[in-house]
């Protein structure tokens, strides 16, 4: 018994550590990437390549005073940043990094990640509403409508894959694609000819669900100051930031497991945790690249894209795959 408790505690500590480390250094990677794309240096003063910048940022954020604006709903204002970070850490528990590196392999792993991801929308909502700021409220309305719209095509795509594999366990989903890259779900097969399209839909939806540009309508600086976290300073803002990057890591992990063969090597050699990390960091680099390359869309364009294009295509793909699975 004590061993299981110890295991659980160690798993949670590793999950928190991994999330925090990634959050800190992905901010650095994002700023450096932004600098490179915009032909400026980015943070390069503190330490070699500016690698100590996240530590300096962390110290600064933690030593600042937490200001709660007058008239704000204190309880909701304080809860919102925690709610941004906690579900992300919970989701790390069920993500398998390799055949053996997983905190808790659950039969409903996919569902669990989406269940906790749905709490992220609530955190934005509470942040915007609790701070009693009209820009905040407008940002939360946008973010919530965005979260609702993009969860639908994302879940339909996941259902297609779950149907093909016959399991909701993330470990089984990855094992089903072991072997070379021609076994991966992203490669079209006889029973699922539209898989590359599904991959694209899922990728777009994860960009939207993690509130990344070009879909970052919730924090559109040019219109809404800073959106839902306008009133947040110090570590409250820091937690939102860390939550965003933790969610990006989870999104990249999900794409890797669902479409890119999890921890499998593209050529069927030495499947291990390194391949998994390599794939998720390539995906994250793509996220950063997209953010600094494309301008922000409008809210109508965003909602139209989901309801008029992504949902019909993903529904068609679901029906097609169901039919072809029955035939072959």
């Amino acid at each position: 018994m004590s061993l299981t408790v110890l295991n659980a505690i160690i798993a949670v500590v590793i999950a928190i550590g991994f999330a925090a480390l990634n959050a800190a250094y992905l901010v650095w990677a994002e700023r450096r990437g932004a600098g490179r794309i915009q032909r400026r240096p980015g943070p390069n003063v503190n330490g070699p390549f500016g690698l100590l910048q996240p530590l300096a940022d962390g110290c600064k954020l933690m030593t600042k005073q937490l200001v709660i604006p007058g008239g704000a709903d204190k309880a909701l204002f304080m809860v919102a940043p925690v709610l941004a970070m906690a579900p992300a850490i919970m989701s790390f528990v069920t993500i398998p990094f390799s055949n053996v590196v997983v905190a808790k392999s659950m039969d409903v792993g996919v569902l669990m990640i989406f269940a906790f991801a749905s709490l992220g929308g609530m955190s934005i909502l509470f942040a915007g509403w609790g701070s009693r700021n009209k820009y905040g409220v407008m940002a939360s309305v946008r973010a919530v409508s965005q979260a609702i719209s993009y969860e639908v095509p994302m879940l339909i795509t996941v259902i297609t894959i779950v149907m093909m594999t016959g399991s909701m366990n993330l470990h089984d989903l990855a094992v089903a694609q072991s072997g070379g890259f021609w076994h991966w779900n992203v490669i079209p097969s006889l029973s699922s000819p539209l898989m590359p399209v599904s991959f694209l839909i899922f990728f777009i939806c994860s960009l939207a669900e993690t509130n990344r540009a070009p879909f970052d309508l919730g924090e559109a600086e040019s219109e809404l100051v800073a959106g839902f976290h306008t009133e947040y300073g110090s570590m409250g803002f820091g937690l939102f930031f860390m939550g965003e990057y933790a969610n990006i890591v989870i999104g990249a992990s999900l794409i890797t497991i669902l479409f890119l063969g999890g921890w499998g090597c593209p050529f069927g050699l030495f499947p291990s945790v390194f391949w998994f990390l390599l794939k998720i960091y390539i995906l994250i680099a793509t996220f950063i690249w997209i953010r600094w390359t494309f301008p922000r869309t409008t809210i109508y364009g965003l909602l139209n894209l989901s309801w008029k294009i992504l949902i019909p295509i993903s529904l068609f793909n679901l029906l097609l795959t169901a039919g072809l699975l029955k035939v072959f």
Binding site: M1, A115, L125, A147, I148
Partner: protein
Amino acid sequence: MNPTVALSEAPGLFTADGLVGLIFLIMLATTVIGGIIACNAERLVRAVAGLIVCFIGVAALYYYLNSPFVAMMQMLIYVGAVCITIAFAIMLAAPEDKKKSGPAGPLTGPLGLITAGLVTFGMAAMALKTDFIPMPKINMGTVENIGVELLTTYSMVFELVSIVLLIAIIGALVIARQGRSK
């Protein structure tokens, strides 16, 4: 576990059973506190927050009862969809600072207390008098088990639920239609 264990034989706090009991109590407290917040909150958004806490407590109870699938669905549907929809409705409605209290109904005051007391007494009596039988674990509560059960043993219930949903959709359409013709 047999509910009529004497206090001297009850498991210690730091044994497996004791910890499980403690976690169960935490889940119960979460559910009840969430419900109380949802009913008594001054602002509607806080009521939604209480509702979320309550739903998470209920989801935890489902997980405790060995049905992770139902627990995750509870989170996904009630927290992720229902609460978000309620919150959306609140945000699109006019802001309301003070809680409006309507005229007091006949069930407030002493009569309400008596009713609550009777219900509590009845439930407590029922819980104490019932002879609890430890049931064997039926299955693992996986997606496959639930799917098979829904389409064989409980197919009637499954169909009835779909009819209820259909009626709800038609009702919503009728209500929305009336608003539009004005």
